[in-house]
Amino acid sequence: MADVKKEHELIVTVSPHVRDEETTSRIMWTVNLSLLPAFFMGFYFFGLKALFITALCIISSVLSEYFFQKAVKKKLTVNDGSAFLTGLLLGMNLPSSLWSFNPFTIHVPIIGSVIAVVITKQFFGGLGYNIFNPALIGRAFLLISFPKAMTIWTEPTAAFLALDAKTTATPLGILKEDGIAKLIEAFGDKLNLYAELFNGHRAGSIGETSVLALLIGAGFLLYKRYITWHIPVSFLGTAAALAWIFGGKNPETGKMLLFAGDPLIHLLSGGLMLGAFFMATDYVTCPAVRKGQIVFGIGCGALTMLIRIKGGYPEGVMFAILLMNCFAPLIDRSMKSDVFGAVKEKKK
């Protein structure tokens, strides 16, 4: 049919021929953006040190991804925002007191970033293939390797330079060591305790303290449908229920008093909000099927409270999420999505 032949270079691909505008890097950068309110509150309360620590984590995360990919001649993906996100999350999970030259601990965040990006993510094949949440492995490594430096908490002075900030204990630390009465005393009264915990005016990791700011960021992600309710609700719900059931203590004997715990204190303190909305929901390391995510969230909540109430650490969110990360592939395998028509087939 030479007479009707036209010279065109036509592109041939498999369908579909239209695609949604969403991209992986847009998702990653949006999550980075949603963390900014909480980071800003950390900066406000803990001053320049908070900014330096977080910036140090971001820079070393991005650089270690860049140099690793260069070294093994892989495609460079530092622009996709995922190494930036790992650095930001790691920084927000560290105490601002790490910015200290005497004793010298500046190297600690750098080591954490390299562990997070190179060993946890790139050694397993890069984005999409890691089993554990990179930022949390980075933090866990640091907590075990530098137990002292990682648990020096400074008062939230809300002073820019914060040079004179005294060290203090976190609310969960006080709760574990001295009990609920001492914790309420430290904040004046119970209502003030709740209010300060909600605003973030308390000792803790840079980005975890302000529940208000975290909820703003989480609300944005939920609105954009980048995350769904399944993990946060099951995580927080389980933690609250267990805090209520097992979190109470008889003030005289010091023994466990059932159904007498204060779930609100547990929800508002530690890294629970940051973990439930921003870390447990990490796409790569949580189950992909919604019903599996509920199981995952329940597991995270239960392990968190087990560690907080019975374990050696005052805080358990990090280890809880990491332990559940191991189960995510198993959950996805055993709780597959419901195939259309298959349920009714069984009933017949």
Binding site: K6, H8, L10, V18, D20, G125, G128, A288, F340
Partner: protein
């Protein structure tokens, strides 16, 4: 109005129907020659019954069905057979085809008006459908006669006409529903009579309110026929999704609509059935939407089967600038053409021209980040993420554990994937390298 019928999952691609929706159906120019493939349907190819040099009339049988799951093909022009040889089809396969040079006389073999067609028996009507070579005109091109001949142990109680036209850009069914509404209703009545069914539905997506009104009006004296507005969502027009939306019945995996007592036919097919029953007219032409940002004048054309796509593109003013992709069918499930010298067949619903800047280049895809979007939207409830990861690593057999063969390749997963992964391609690869 009642809540719109729909199914679980699905996506909302931009519908882009404005490009062609207001163009009334126009008779395409009769081409100088037609290339009529002997296999335009699912099932056995036809055997040619003409020889080179033979004169044929319009509507004359030129290929006889090669089995039960097959359908005869007819000449769409009057003229002389000049070649019987293998030619490429829209899917890129070489298919034995008959080339006929058009003498321009448009001489019909036989057309007879039988206004009493509705009094014919079920078997007589089936004979007409068979003789006319009718196949599903929504795209899959499954021989209609087979769907109308369910085994005795599978009783049918409902016929659904598919007017969803959920593929973006396409407007062929929409125009038919506007312009031939009462003929389509007649077609549905014939289908119901053949199957001995007294419940008929016409499912139409809610972005075509005027088509819904027209069809309701055409069916106003038919108490057994109900026009059903459907939520605008892709793939609303997939057979299983449509049945679930309208009747609430779910076709089990690997089963057929007849297993839930339903037969689904496209509205275009219903029209062809009507024309076959009334006039004995074989399926030799169909409406094709020529559309896309890359074509000069979008149109809905009544095209003779066998017309080359290059002729149609020329009739529509050609490409605007340089065409990046030309797709036979819709953007979600259509086939990208490597050459325009392929014929329109009974299943060609559209020709979509995507300009170069609109082409999604698939080679730059990223790893699966397990975001779960594809799982949320898969209308079949599958896990496309795993169905792309496993074949990517060569684990084809393992993909079967994730119900590989229940996928009907609607492309919704690849549409939503933020890493732009070629999920459908990987699924097809796994399917071709394993056995169900």
């Amino acid at each position: 109005m009642m809540a719109l019928a729909t199914f679980k999952g699905g996506i909302h691609p931009p519908d882009k129907k404005d490009l062609a929706k207001d163009k009334a159906i126009k008779e395409a120019k009769s081409p100088q020659r037609v290339v009529i493939p002997l296999s335009q349907h699912l099932g056995a190819p036809c055997k040619p019954i003409v020889s080179i040099g033979q004169e044929v009339k319009k509507g004359e049988v030129i290929g006889e069905p090669g089995g039960f799951v097959s359908a005869p093909v007819h000449s769409s022009v009057s003229g002389k057979v000049i070649a019987i040889a293998e030619f490429p089809n829209a899917m890129g396969r070489m298919v034995n085809s008959i080339v006929i040079e058009n003498d321009g006389k448009e001489e019909w073999a036989s057309l007879k008006d039988n206004p009493d067609y509705i009094k014919l028996s079920s078997d007589e009507l089936k004979e007409k459908v068979k003789a006319a070579g009718i196949v599903g005109m929504g795209g899959a091109a499954f021989p209609t006669l087979v769907k109308l001949s369910p085994p005795k142990e599978k009783p049918i109680d409902t016929v659904i006409l598919n007017g969803a036209e959920c593929e973006p850009y396409l407007t062929a069914d929409y125009r038919l529903m506007l312009e031939k509404s009462s003929d389509i209703v007649e077609g549905l009545k014939i289908l119901m009579r053949i199957l001995g069914v007294n419940k008929g539905f016409i499912g139409i997506e809610n972005n075509k309110p005027d088509a819904i009104e027209k069809m309701k009006d055409a069916a106003r004296n038919e108490p057994n026929i109900e026009v059903c507005g459907l939520e605008v969502k892709y793939p609303q027009g997939a057979e299983k999704m449509l049945i679930s939306a309208i009747t609430g019945r779910e076709v089990p995996p690997r089963a057929l609509p007849m297993d839930v007592r339903v037969v689904v036919q496209n509205v275009g097919t219903a029209l062809a059935v009507y024309e076959a029953a009334r006039y004995g007219k074989p399926l030799i032409e169909r409406v094709v939407t020529v559309t896309g940002e890359g074509i000069k004048t979008p149109a809905n054309l009544m095209v003779k089967i066998g017309t080359l796509i290059s002729d149609i593109v020329e009739e529509c003013g050609g490409f605007k600038d340089s065409a990046g992709k030309v797709v036979s069918g819709g953007p979600m499930m259509g086939f990208a053409l490597s050459t325009l010298d392929v014929p329109v067949t009974k299943g060609t619903s559209g020709i979509l021209v995507i300009p170069e800047e609109g082409v999604v280049h698939a080679e730059e895809y990223g790893p699966c980040i397990r975001c779960g979007r594809c799982i949320d939207i898969c209308p079949m409830g599958l896990m496309p993420s795993m169905l792309s990861i496993l074949p990517e690593k060569g684990h084809y057999e393992d993909a079967k554990e994730y119900n590989l063969f229940d996928c009907f390749e609607c492309g919704s997963c690849a549409f939503v994937c933020p890493s732009k992964r070629p999920i459908v391609q990987l699924i097809r690869l796994a399917k071709s390298l394993t056995k169900p």
